[in-house]
Each structure stands twice: as C-alpha cells, then as structure tokens.
C-alpha cells in the first residue's frame, strides 16, 4: 500500500515559507511527496491552478494561508476563503472530493502545526484514494 500521497502546497513567501523551512531545520519529517510552490499571498491563488494540480495527478492541495498575519492586509483571510469555496464548488461539479483541498493558516512560527496538518492530510488522502 502506498504510504505517501502527492500533495501540492501553496505557501507564501513572507509568512508560511519560513515555517516550512523551519520544519526542515528542526528535522520534523513529513512525506517527501509534498511540494511547495511559493506565492506572495494566499488570496492570489487561482482556482484553475488547484484544479490543474488534480488533473496532473496530485492527490491533494494544501493552502498554507497567511491568515490574519498577511502583510497585504486583513481582507486576505476572507479572500483566500472565497478562493477555497469557489474551488470546492468546481471540484464538486467535476466529481472531485472537496476534502482533497485543505486550507489552514500557517504563520512564520507554525512549523509543528504545518507538519501535523500535512501528516493528517496525508493520512486522509491515503485512506480515501489509495487504501
């Protein structure tokens, strides 16, 4: 049985990238099939990118969102939420399990939380897609 799901992480340069880097520095391990693409702000992620990832074979997409720490202002949380809900609707429309897209606010000190979230997401994806 497969133990590592293929997960694409959208992370942000100023806020969540440092947490993911720190997870590496602290050798907090997570599956090596988790890949990060960096963007300036999580509210700028296009639903089409996320759908493209599923189409190309990713099991899951994880948005490491800026949350209330966003350097571009408070509206980020709501706008990232909108990106996720629009994408969820599109996923339902094409028969993709909406739970294959997860979002969590990951701030620059959230290394442990990032790793915990990714491991639990991995478990979910393995159970539902590869069991």
């Amino acid at each position: 049985m497969k133990k590592n799901a293929k997960i694409l992480v959208f992370s942000t340069e100023k806020i969540s990238d440092p947490a993911i880097d720190m997870a590496g520095l602290l050798k907090l391990h997570y599956p090596p099939t988790v890949y990060t693409i960096t963007v300036p702000c999580s509210s700028g992620i296009k639903p089409s990118w996320i759908l493209h990832a599923y189409e190309k074979g990713f099991d899951g997409v994880f948005i490491a969102a800026d949350g209330s720490d966003c350097v571009f202002g408070e509206s980020c949380t709501e706008k990232t939420g909108n990106v996720v809900s629009i994408t969820h609707d599109k996923m339902k429309g094409t028969g993709i399990d909406p739970a294959r897209l997860r979002m969590a606010a990951i701030c620059s000190v959230c290394s442990e939380s990032f790793v915990k979230q990714i491991r639990s997401f991995n478990d979910y994806l393995i159970k539902t897609l590869h069991a």
């Binding site: 720190m22 590496g24 700028g44 629009i86």
Partner: protein, 576 residues
C-alpha cells in the same frame, strides 16, 4: 522564453549531499529543455563558485540561472547579485530550496529526498523559462530605529545607532534600565560592578539628543514592514493619578533585545524549596554583594562550606534545555572567588560536569584552583544528590576524577548554578512572528553567516534573547544587530520587488471586480481602442495578486506568478 539556462546544485558541505544524491539530481536535469549547463558545487555561495558562475554566464551566454541550495531567505540576494555581475538582470535568477525543504525535511528518507529535489529543480527550470528582466521600485525608508529592551544589549545597540546619526527610540518595559546587568555587583571578567557599568552607559545615552528612552513602556502593536513599521507604545502611569499614555512611532527597523529569564529550579530539584539553604546563583550573587559582615551569613546562620551544583537547567538530558548556558561556569567561579576574598573561612566545593571557562576566562578557573577550591565531577547520568541527615545538608557525588569514588560533603549553603531560559513573556515574539529555534530562543537566519537577522525583514535580534551569552557576547551581538538594522535604512531608499499585476487588455471587458478586490486602490479604468479596460497603477500596486483570482475572463496575472508559469511548475512537480 529562456533557452540558455545554467543550473547549479549545491552540496552545502554535506548538509544537502548527505541525504540528497546531488549527482543524480544533476543527471536528471542536464538534458531538460533549455538547460545548457548543469553542475554540482560543494558550496554554491563560496567566492570561487560565485566567480565560476559569473564566468559561466559570459562564456556560455546564459540567459537564466538557477541555484538549488538552501532557503532563499539566506542566499537569494547573493545569487541575484552574482547574476548581475554576469550582466544579466537579477530577476532572471530563480532559486530553489533543496536543503530545508528536501535534505533536512526528509533526512529520514534519502531516496524520497533525492526524488523530491529532482522535481523541485525541474519546476525551477520551468519557472526560469518565463523569468523576464524586471526593474525594482524604490520607496523612502523611515530613518528612525526602535530598540526594544534596555538591558546591556539594547543600550549598547542604541549608543551605536546614535553614533551613526540615527534617531533611536529605546523602549523598556520596566521602570528602570539595565536589565539583569544593573542588578549585579562585581562581574567576571573585569570586576566592575554591573550596576556601575549599566549606569555609565545610561548616562551616556541621556546626553544624546537623538535618543529617546521610554521606561515603563511596551510595544502593543506593530503594523507595516521593513522601512515603514508603525509601532504603538503604551507607557504605564509612573505615579498614581498619572494617565496611561499611548504613542505611535514610525520606524524603519527594529532591534529586539528583550533578554532572558534565569532558570527557576522545580520544587525538589537538588533540594530546591525543600531545604531553605539551597539557593540559586542569582540569589547567591545578590547575597555576597549585599552582605557586609566578617563572616558570610544566610538566614542568620554562619556559612563556611559552600557546595555549587553546576548546569542546573542547562545541558539537560531529559528536560527541554539541552544547550549550555555559557555564562555560568565562569560566573560561579568568579562569585566563589569573590566570596572567599570578602568573607573569612569560606570553603568552596564545585560539583561540576566539566568546566567550560573558555578563552581568557580560564584564568579565573586557575585562580580558584590556586585558592584551594575543590572540584568534583560527574557525568549527566549520575548527577550529585542533595539530602538532609541529622539536620545537616549534604551533597553526594560519584566523582569521576577519583575513579567514581563516592564522596560526600556537608554544606552550609548549596548554590544551584542555574542557566538562562527564554523570557516567559513572549509578547514581542508573537507580535513580530519571530521564529524560535530548538532552544526556544529567537532564531537567527544563519548561525554563522547571519547571526542577528531574522526571517522577518527589518527585525534584528541582539543579546540573550537569541541565546545564552555573557556580557561581552551580548554586546558583540548588539553592535552587529545595530549595524545590520542601520544598513537596512542607511541609503534612505529601499527597493521593493517589481512584482505587479498585469492586465491582458484583449481579454478584459471592464467589469470592475479586480478594482473591488484590490486593497490598495491600484486599479483604475481606461479606454483602449474604444474599449474600457482595467489599468494597474504600478507605483501603488503591492503585488499581492488578490485581483487575479476574481477576474471572470482570467485577464489578470501577477508578473513572475502567471498562470502559465505556475501551471508549468505544477506539471513538473507532478512528474513531468
């Protein structure tokens, strides 16, 4: 579209190559479209490799450069400037992190780490194909710098900044300055009193017109980023009836110098709080500084025999504090010498785990041996034991220096040589989102090369808030944090990334959704060939990309993050 890309894959000594097969990565990408050169290098950041890269760019007429190495936080700027030295626009450089995000994160799975590194480099190649020359925007930086914490570190940072003709706001939570240093009497190595040292620096600060010292004050919020932070500071009422003042300051950079807390032993740890004659090193220092009899007394009892138990709260095997607190071996030996000089009939017994009086501090160790102090040593698995027998406090050890002979000493006073721990109050760390290291102190970007910078641009860390240090080390770190903070704003102008949104006017049909989404009012409307379309004001656009996902015909992209670019990266990460 780039057609002549050079790829460099770094060993980082062994930090990467111990876990990632860098040669396999090189072979996996050397024939990718557009790649004309793929090399591995032991240290990509070394001068020799940087010079080789400049030569390669010219010799092979490269139009794009990629380095796969450590976090871009560390060396993005280094390699961008190498690219510039090779006469390429620095924004054609693409960085990929195969250390924090591959070799270290997956050090438990070498094959997995190597496979991931291959795909990360392939995705970087995909991104590099689109990387166009760009020109940064500039903005004016605030010239004032805030220093938080007025211990020895914060005060010295403030003096140094003031010398550079920068306005400084020094913000101290307590009603007086000096931190721990101000509370000590004679100190290692100079014997100068901590209180005098602190007073001397403070008096100097008060003479300076460009330094504002705010005591009893705390930063309660921070907005903005490097070059333009707005700090809200609350000053407590100094006397009953005074109002609480709230002030706002605009600063270009912040030096955090909030210091440490002394480790407080747990109840029962080496008899602490079980026996009244078991005290900590800070308590002992205050006792010998303030007591003025011929003989030393504690709680009315004569003290002759003192047992010092080292490394309490440091170098823990089971606890959280694995680190050495650095100052304590020297400080306790110094205090033991002071006690013996000041009071009659003092006998010192040092229960240590190996003495760490590095550098010149070794002279103190020699002096203590000469004055007859006794040193007994154990390893971490068999620490000394403190117990009471017939109303006496005793310390027992299996002394490794005498072939593990069990030795027992009756002590009038037991001093626990307590280490340093991070401040329990982490409000500043939480506010600026400063990452902490494994030791829970604030973490620097790189322990050797960037020891006072943090991943939060514009914020530096000085003194013991970054890790245990004695005064010399605290001041060294404060001076370099001051220099670094100053360097951020010294030119008066800062560069922002030239990442802005772009509208495809063929696709745009002016619905105004992007303008609504933009938090900075950077989008207007204009007529292009008789058609109304959105137009971006590049000097206002901050490059957040919030406008891009809301556009119904997908007419907006952020430069460097276009759909084409991101999707081609996704395809590579998916496995080509």
């Amino acid at each position: 579209m780039k057609e002549r890309i050079g790829v460099y894959i770094c060993h980082c000594g062994g930090n990467i190559s111990d876990y990632v097969d860098v040669e396999r990565v090189r072979q996996a990408v050397e024939n990718d479209r557009g790649v004309v050169l793929a090399k591995t290098t032991v240290f990509a950041c070394s001068d020799s490799n940087q010079n080789d890269m400049v030569d390669d760019i010219k010799k092979h007429n490269l139009d794009g450069v990629i380095v796969a190495s450590c976090s871009p936080k560390l060396h993005l700027a280094t390699f961008r400037s190498v690219t510039e030295r090779g006469d390429l626009n620095k924004y054609t450089y693409v960085h990929t992190n195969i250390r924090e995000q591959a070799s270290w994160a997956h050090s438990d799975d070498k094959i997995g780490a190597t496979e991931k590194a291959i795909l990360l480099v392939k995705a970087a190649i995909a991104k590099s194909r689109y990387a166009e020359p760009l020109y940064p925007n500039q903005f004016e930086a605030e010239k004032t710098i805030a220093v938080i914490g007025a211990g020895i570190s914060g005060m010295k940072a403030a003096v140094s900044l003031s010398d550079k003709n920068t306005s400084v706001i020094l913000i101290e939570k307590e009603n007086k300055v000096g931190g721990h240093t101000a509370t000590w009497g004679p100190l290692a190595m100079s014997d100068e009193k901590g209180s005098d040292l602190s007073h001397r620096i403070y008096s100097d600060l008060l003479q300076r017109d460009n330094v504002t010292v705010l005591t009893g004050s705390e930063v309660i919020s921070s907005k903005g980023s490097i070059g333009n932070f707005t700090l809200k500071v609350r000053k407590r009422a100094q006397q009953a009836g005074d109002p609480v003042e709230t002030m706002e300051f605009n600063v270009g950079s912040v030096v955090v110098a909030t210091g440490f807390d002394p480790y407080l032993p747990k109840a029962g740890e080496f008899g602490f709080s079980s026996y009244e004659n078991v005290i900590t090193l800070p308590d002992f220092k205050h006792l010998i500084d303030s007591f003025s009899g011929k003989y030393l007394e504690y709680r009315g009892k004569r003290i002759n025999r003192i047992a010092y138990i080292y490394c309490v709260g440091s170098r823990q095997v089971d606890g959280e504090n694995r680190y050495c607190s650095r100052y304590c071996c020297t400080s306790v030996i110094h205090a033991a010498i002071q006690a013996k000089k000041k009071f009659k009939e003092i006998y010192n017994f040092h229960f240590n785990r190996g003495i760490r009086t590095y550098g010149k501090q070794e002279l103190l160790y020699a002096e203590s041996l000469q004055q007859g102090d006794i040193y007994l040593q154990s390893f971490e698995d068999a620490p000394p034991q403190v117990y009471a027998e017939n109303g006496k406090t005793k310390v027992k050890i299996k002394d490794v220096l005498t072939k593990e002979k069990e030795l027992e000493i009756e002590a009038d006073l037991v001093v626990l040589v307590t280490g340093m721990v991070p401040r329990a109050d982490n409000s500043i760390g939480t506010m600026f989102k400063l990452p902490k290291g494994r030791d829970k102190f604030f973490n620097e970007v790189h322990m050797k090369l960037r020891p006072v910078e943090t991943v939060i641009d514009g914020i530096t860390i000085a003194g013991t808030c970054q890790g245990p240090k004695n005064i010399v080390e605290s001041v060294n770190s404060a001076l370099s944090a001051a220099a670094k903070s100053y360097s951020y704003i010294s030119k008066g102008m800062l560069e922002t990334e030239p990442i802005v949104a772009e509208v495809n006017t063929d696709l745009c049909a002016w619905c105004g959704k992007c303008a609504e989404a933009c938090p900075f009012d950077a989008i207007g409307q204009k007529d292009v060939n008789g058609k109304q379309v959105a137009v971006i004001n590049n000097s206002v656009c901050k490059g957040c990309g919030m406008c891009a996902p809301v556009c119904p015909p997908d007419a907006i992209n952020l430069i460097n993050y276009s759909s084409e670019e991101i999707m081609s990266m996704i395809e590579q990460l998916a496995g080509g």
